[in-house]
């Protein structure tokens, strides 16, 4: 079953603009992760945010997590054509402080960045 649901399903922007993708999930989580997938590099881990964290940064990426709303957002600032890819959120549904690495992926957001 797919726990995470990304929104929007597709996003098209110009280079230099910011891109925001949202993810909603249903059950309690230990952590939430974002992955990028393109034909050239396969599925690549971008960033992980734990359930007790609210915001995390990594380079041009900013992730927020709202456990009360069971939602997360990924912001890519100053986007580049090379950011064109599908982006997936994945939840580790283990609660109570225990993680077993059993990820459940959402359907993904297809991001297209036009030069």
């Amino acid at each position: 079953s797919q726990q995470g649901e990304e929104d929007p399903q597709a996003l098209s922007i110009q280079e230099g603009e910011n891109a925001t993708m949202n993810c909603s999930y249903k059950t309690s989580i230990n952590n939430l992760q974002w992955y990028r997938q393109n034909s050239g590099r396969g599925l690549v881990h971008l960033i992980l945010i734990r359930s007790n964290e609210r915001e995390k940064h990594s380079g041009r990426l900013r992730v927020t997590l709202d456990t009360s709303k069971k939602s997360s957002s990924l912001l890519i600032t100053a986007s580049r054509a090379a950011d064109t890819a599908s982006y997936f959120c994945a939840t580790d549904p283990s609660a109570g402080g225990t993680s077993y690495g059993k990820l459940t992926f959402g359907q993904g957001t297809i991001l297209t960045v036009h030069p």
Binding site: N30, Q33, G42, L43, F88, D92, Y100, G101
Partner: protein
Amino acid sequence: EAGVAQSPRYKIIEKRQSVAFWCNPISGHATLYWYQQILGQGPKLLIQFQNNGVVDDSQLPKDRFSAERLKGVDSTLKIQPAKLEDSAVYLCASSLPVPPYEQYFGPGTRLTVT
């Protein structure tokens, strides 16, 4: 550091035939995962190994899918007999056996069942 290796990269078979996929994880990664990714969807976990043992195979269709990880390193995933709906990309991932289990994915095997 060498990444996760998978073979073959592509496979075309007819329904009711059998097929096997191979995965070699990153050295030192005791945890290994097989995912199925149908076109337009996110990956779905089929089975998770910790060394030789199965941690979770709740979403593995056991009537036709099987997986093994001999000696706690390489792994094979088999489908017998294949159905049309098995057409997908099969991804192998590995991680260290400790939280948060950051997973590294291989390039995948694209299976087409005709």
